[in-house]
Symmetry: C2
Subunit: 208 residues, 2 copies
DNA sequence: CCGAAATAATTAGGAATCCTATTTATTGGA
DNA sequence: TCCAATAAATAGGATTCCTAATTATTTCGG
């Protein structure tokens, strides 16, 4: 009866519209468009990548991606290098100009960040935790490519501590942390086994 | 330090990519594209609308919207009627065909809904509550147009009851409910005053 | 009551995404 | 060695999406 899933989906849909619209604004004044900005962002976060994996990451066809990369190439923001391991493939990397431009782009629309900052920390922690579980589930269902979430990381030890404010532990930085510090895209991420991912998910669900 | 806002924003960004990509798939087989599907969806939920408000709701320019409406018009899925109240304006409405097609479209990508269904109810409730507050804040900041949220509704009485599972009350259906039954887009919504919206937000934040 | 400013929509012009299908080159297994 | 699979580019086309300009209408100040 509560229909919670549909309402959450509606909220995500609403935010999607906002994200795209806001993205146009912030990005257009730098001569880009949302698709190009997303490519730059992905390259900045994850480093050089093959086009095929970029296409998968951004959820567009390889042909579309090729179009967009060609645009960026013409602007001198990315470069193509042959992949030494595979003669068919090409690796796309940011140029210095591209990296500088990317660094100047906001990570998210300012009003969204400020709205998020106004959420109480427990509220934000709960949201982040739920979104982590959601993205993990989508990844598990092969609906989205592999992400770099705490909840799928070797270093993540949920509920190792008794401290309610910081029950989890990160083995990489060797520190305790709480839901509000969960990561969606952590540079130090190391994928763990399927078994352990499932165990972590079960543990989080049990406590939630 | 926790950087929670950025991580949540990253999650929303990731879901945005997924939403658009998934939308293409489900919608393309019906001869539509995401923009057109969103127009049909909005008309189905909210009824006939002027183009200017459709454009605002979907976050595109009036010119873009005009393009998309022309496409839908050519397919016979919507009709334009002159607005009796304003000779400049046009009201766009679903045709019978359009309504039938829209009804057959999934509200959200199936893997997303099933991932959401797998969230524990408390987790989902917390997420919905946080997303409600987030969308309310964006609306208050004039970043998005007015939505039909419980938390901005005349009928919403937060924490009227002692029952932890169903503390809120809806004056329209005269029933108690919990976070998991909060609505993002409620057909029975009636906008309340700015003062009361602020009071509700403060109350929710205090408890959260 | 009239003119100016604002508003709703369309049109013009153009760039770029995005699709599917096809082609080319390369890889890797049988 | 041969053949299927893969990576990318290309072809072709529909459509979104933008800004700017145009037309019609409404609203509001004087």
């Amino acid at each position: 009866m509560p229909d919670t899933s549909r309402q959450i989906a509606a909220a995500i849909g609403r935010l999607t519209l906002y994200w795209r619209a806001a993205s146009w604004q912030t990005v257009a004044e730098r001569g880009l468009n949302p698709a190009q900005a997303e490519i730059l962002g992905h390259l900045a976060r994850r480093g050089p990548a093959r086009q095929v994996s970029l296409a998968a990451a951004l959820g567009v066809s390889a042909a579309s991606l090729s179009d967009s990369v060609a645009s960026l190439l013409a602007k001198g923001l990315v470069a193509r290098h042959p992949d030494p391991k595979d003669g068919r493939a090409v690796r796309v990397a940011l140029t210095e100009t591209g990296a500088a431009l990317q660094a100047a782009l906001p990570e998210a629309p300012a009003p969204l960040l400020s709205a998020l900052d106004d959420l109480p920390e427990t509220e934000a922690g709960a949201a982040l935790r739920a979104l982590s579980m959601l993205i993990r589930a989508l990844q598990e269902a092969r609906a989205i490519p592999v992400q770099r979430l705490c909840v799928t990381c070797t270093y993540f030890q949920p509920y190792r501590h008794d401290d309610a404010a910081a029950p989890h532990h990160c083995g990489f930085v060797d520190a305790a942390f709480g839901d509000a510090a969960l990561r969606i895209d952590c540079a130090d991420h190391e994928d763990t086994t399927e078994e352990r991912r499932a165990a972590i998910a079960a543990r989080l669900a049990a406590v939630g």
